[in-house]
Amino acid sequence: MTALLETRSVTQRFAGLVANSDVSISVDRGEIVGLIGPNGAGKSTLFNLIAGVFPPSEGAIWFDGADVTRLPAAERCRRGIGRTFQVVKSFETMTVVDNVIVGALVRATHMRDARRKAHEVLEFTGLAARAGVPASDLVPAEKRRLEVARALATSPKLLLLDEVLTGLTPAEARTGVELVRRVRDTGVTVLMVEHVMEIVMPLVDRAIVLDLGKVLVEGKPSDVVRNPKVITAYLGDRHAVGA
């Protein structure tokens, strides 16, 4: 079976700045893959390219056996790519359940089905008690979970999580990790960008490290964290020599 997601030599330039350069990664079905790297490594850009916010300057993106390089974000969602945003983008004037219904409507033909799906997802993500509350009333951790719930409501094959565990308390982060595991158990493939190494490493099956817009290292989390190149990228040369 081919990979669910593949980027083929993707390059993205912004007015002279090369944010991604010749990035080729692949994600297999059922995996949880972590995309890590220091600030400015090009993680968010790669995410946006996969989600279809803008097309890459060069290269191709294949999803589920088809070339999706030129497809707009909405169409990619229909094909099974769900995403969250690093800076949460809730529909603030709508209630929590209405937020999730928007996602469910991609697949549902009747409002009743969309509503049922939304309530299921809220149950799954632990937001059921907040269903009728306006999204603007949620605390930050809940808003993160709403991002995930909304994306899950679109019944994605691939879920892109953009720093959903960052900035949470340890207890909240543990619940988050638990949620990501349960998402995978339902058969959804997960690609997650994360900053906090100690949270993400035990969770992922495979880690891809980006640095300066290129793939630096890729492999098992335990190997990746010991790799001198990764340590250099994160902490600078001095520490790598020490290691």
Partner: protein, 326 residues
């Protein structure tokens, strides 16, 4: 939770039906022609504002150029009737379709604009249309079109002896505009529109085709406003560019929704019931010398509302409901 939601929807429907019946009985008590006239205008603006609310309230694309669609409706009906003898009922439908098509044609470039730029574009386009009509000889240019009044008939939708037929038609128009909104509110389109208003980028990531949503909202909104314009042409039986396409109509469609609650089901009607009688009364009491005083009243109201209740007057009811639910 679902049951609660269904209950609220049903309650809205029952309340609306009740209000429509009450309004329908009003002429039994009100015999004064002047007051009846105000009632007709109030209903018409309620319907217009309700239609405006679909694009600008629900979908968040603030238009201050809806006078264009109002005028197109009026002109289509009047031209078809006077030049080709086509009955206003067909003119009404034709005007609606033309307006919807033009709204989409204009939306194609304009919906790429965001925020203030979009608002400015709507104003400018409506002003251009106004100038075009002022110079278009076939459509009577600046002199306008005098719709010949024959005899009272539902066929030609002309009534000279009584305002009541207009009243009931305007009431039906409000009912239709309200019901369309109610129906759309719990539909895919309704959800898409609100998502587009709140955050287009997030909406797009959830499979919402933002551009199509805006186009849909524009078409529905323009269609209904044009039907209102057709009605107005028959009601006043004389139109000229300034009197059906002037900027004040764009404002008079937006303000009731803003006062009552933009993007809400009840806001536009509530706003119209408060604003329109107020304007008409100030206008007639202060008389010709005080042209513009109604606008001062308007302005003051807007300032008051934006200070005290930015989300509109329906917020008052919502809070009470919430409190009683506790």
């Amino acid at each position: 939770m679902d049951r609660q939601f269904a209950q609220r929807r049903r309650r809205d429907l029952v309340v609306a039906a009740g209000l429509i019946v009450l309004a329908a009985l009003a002429p039994l008590l009100v015999k004064d022609v002047y007051v009846q006239n105000i009632m007709v205008l109030t209903l018409m603006y309620a319907a217009l504002s309700q239609s405006w609310n679909i694009l600008s309230g629900y979908c968040g694309q603030i238009s201050l150029g809806h006078a264009l669609y109002f005028g197109l409706g009026a002109y289509t009906t009047a031209l078809l009737f006077t030049r080709f003898g086509v009955l206003p009922w067909f003119g009404m439908f034709g005007g609606g379709v033309i307006s919807a098509l033009i709204a989409m044609a204009l939306g194609y470039p304009c919906f790429r604009l965001r925020g203030h730029y979009f608002v400015i574009a709507t104003i400018v386009i409506a002003e251009i249309a106004l100038l075009l009509f002022q110079n278009w000889t076939f459509a009577g240019a600046a002199l306008g079109i005098d719709i010949p009044v024959r005899h009272d008939s539902w066929l030609t939708f002309q009534f000279t002896r009584s305002k009541l037929p207009y009243f009931y038609f305007a009431l039906a128009l409000v009912a239709v505009a309200w019901f369309v909104t109610w129906w759309l509110e719990d539909s895919k389109w309704g959800f898409w529109w609100r998502a587009v208003k709140d955050n287009p980028e997030a909406a797009e990531s959830l499979g919402v085709v933002v551009f199509d949503s805006k186009m849909g909202a524009a078409a529905v909104s323009a269609f209904l406003v044009a039907v209102g314009g057709s009605f107005y042409a028959q009601f006043v039986s004389y139109i000229d560019p300034e009197s059906v396409m002037g900027f004040q109509f764009s404002l008079l469609m937006a303000l009731p929704a803003v006062v009552g609650g933009i993007g809400t089901l009840w806001g536009p009607a509530l706003g119209a019931v408060i604003l329109i009688p107020l304007t008409e009364l100030t206008r007639s009491y202060i008389g010709g010398s005080g042209r513009g005083v109604d606008l001062i009243v308007y302005g003051s109201l807007i300032v008051l509302i934006s200070l005290a209740r930015p989300q509109g007057l329906v917020g008052l009811f919502a809070r009470r409901n919430k409190a009683s639910a506790r």
